[in-house]
Amino acid sequence: MSTPTRSPESDIHHSRMDDLSGIVPSPVRPTSDRPLLLIGLGAVAVWLVLWQVVGLHMVVGLVVGYLAFLLVSYLYYRAAGGQRVGLDIVVRWLVYAAFVCAVVPLISMLWTVIGQGLPLAFEWFFISTDMKGITGTHDQAYAAGEGPLVGGAGHAIIGTLIVTGLATVISVPIGMFTAIYLVEYGGKNALARGIRFLVDVMTGIPSIVAGLFAFALFTQIFGIRDAKMGLAGAVALSVLMIPTVVRNSEEMLRIVPNELREASLALGVPKWRTIAKVVLPTAASGLASGITLAIARVIGETAPLLVAIGFAREFNWNFLEGPMNTLAVYTYWMFTKPLSPAVIEPSQERAWAAALLLVILVVALNLLARFIAKIFAPKSGR
């Protein structure tokens, strides 16, 4: 061995320095986008050949073409621009593909619902009438071209608004006050930790269980014959809604800077007033949009409402008595139990139209949430 003697300490020191100086970013050479376009066109050609000539399924061909595109562009750009450029291209196109995979079902769903539901959903008679007295014979007459399509979802629209509105009225105060307790008073004490745990558990409750709970509760109070009412459905929905409201509101209150609370307290403002006048207004935009999203989440629930409210054929404005209908339940009912088993098309038309109305409601709520968030957002203009 001819290595010069060194103390072990300096040895370690030197080897570490060598490691550090060994970290050199791999060189990058400029590349153009044109080859990528050519490779892309080639991949499309591969897809078309596999699909049309070889006879593979369209999607299989697409996947093969995409993988070929990734591989070829990686190899090309690694050779042309270096390792990092090649990786950059691959990861970028993986991200694009993931995005497309996420969006395609959404667009496809919107497309189908709009395409199937559009003519009927905006007909005035569909929005304004109910299904009272409509039977399979009407549908058969319509299918045979001997009569108009009759029967609408007006009662379901009203029912959706009443039941969801009631659920909101029940859930928002409970959820908000819980969140205020958790953030402002509870902190990390045992009660707050217990509540947080229970709220997490509640988030995972299957919606049908919420429906059964509400039905059982109202059966205890009103007896089994009269238990189905709008209020029962609202209670079922609020069981689903409260955890969402608590969680959203808690997050929103938590991000209000502590300095603002201290500033207010230091002015001699009592704690409850600090919460009401400083914390809540500062968090208002987040709170409002969180609540709106919680509403959007439960407005399309079907299973708990089937159990707790049942199914009504006609307008029922009284949420304390008798079954009601909602758009989701209406859609489900029309689709699974067509009025005339022999001629199901008219019922399916109604189902699609009701589904479209529901989608429009949800989208409108989401837009409303954004709008509200913008209105309440703290201004920082000069």
Binding site: E259, E262, A263, L267, T282, P378, S380, G381
Partner: protein, 259 residues
């Protein structure tokens, strides 16, 4: 509108941790008192006990006595909210309320306590407080704009205006200039000199020159070792502390020999 503060054998704890030990001092009315010392020695903790703001921190408690003009802040039946109305506070980072305009920020202390006041009285109070904080000329044309749109130094003066709008007896300032540039710092220091004529001002600062410039009396806090409680090492006229300190630790700190 200014009162004398007596602190007697004050001990401050966070849970089991003894944060500040055996502080006794007298803070004279209409004077500026500065506290200096290394980080973590309990200056901020101590100043917060002068208006019971430390109670916001879970587990914090106090033994001993703090009196303002003879009334013990920690006596039975004393409401911390009342204490804080008498003893205002300005914090390290400017914290105007983001949802409120400049005008509403100044009036926040009055409004949030739901005192009704006429438009005219509110305007007067707003102008008077902003003038008191040397901010009036800079913002008088944009009182309805959000307070968060001001520069850092202006925001801090807005916070001072907000604090003096409730007409406290004492004004506490916890490192009010540490987030500001030298020009804004100078503006605040000038302001502190003016406030002295009406208020008892207590200021915590990391900047020894600042303490020397603005204060009449200076207290030096220090830790004996990490994990030990902070103590008031020396408390005397600012001139004396900076020119001829009695304790070796004070001299070492001021001359930069330790830190």
């Amino acid at each position: 509108m200014s009162k004398r503060i007596d602190v007697n054998n004050l001990n401050i704890f966070y849970g089991d941790f003894h944060a500040v030990k055996d502080v006794s001092m007298v803070i004279e009315p209409k004077s500026v008192t500065a506290f200096i010392g290394p980080s973590g020695c309990g200056k901020s903790t101590f100043i917060r006990t002068l208006n019971r703001m430390h109670e916001v921190i879970p587990g914090a408690r106090v033994e001993g006595e703090v009196s303002i003009d003879g009334q013990n802040l920690y006596g039975r039946g004393v409401d911390p909210v009342d204490v804080r109305r008498q003893v205002g506070m300005v914090f390290q980072r400017p914290n105007p309320f983001p949802t409120m305009s400049i005008r509403d920020n100044v009036l926040a202390g009055v409004r949030l306590n739901s005192k009704r006041m006429s438009r005219k009285a509110a305007d007067e109070l707003c102008e008077q407080s902003l003038r008191g904080a040397n901010l009036w000329n800079e913002v008088k044309d944009r009182l309805d704009k959000p307070g968060s749109g001001l520069s850092g130094g202006q925001q801090q003066r807005l916070c001072i205006a907000r604090a003096i709008a409730v007409q406290p007896e004492v004004l506490l300032m916890d490192e009010p200039c540490s987030a500001l540039d030298p020009i804004s710092t100078l503006a605040i220091e000038d302001l502190i000199n003016e406030l002295k004529s009406d208020y008892t001002v207590v200021i915590v600062t990391h900047n020894m020159q600042q303490a020397a410039r603005v204060s009449d009396r200076t207290g030096f806090f220090n830790l004996e070792a990490t994990g030990q409680p902070g103590q008031l090492v020396e408390f005397d006229d600012t001139q004396k502390i900076f020119n001829n300190p009695t304790k070796k630790a004070t001299e070492d700190y001021i001359s930069g020999r330790f830190g």
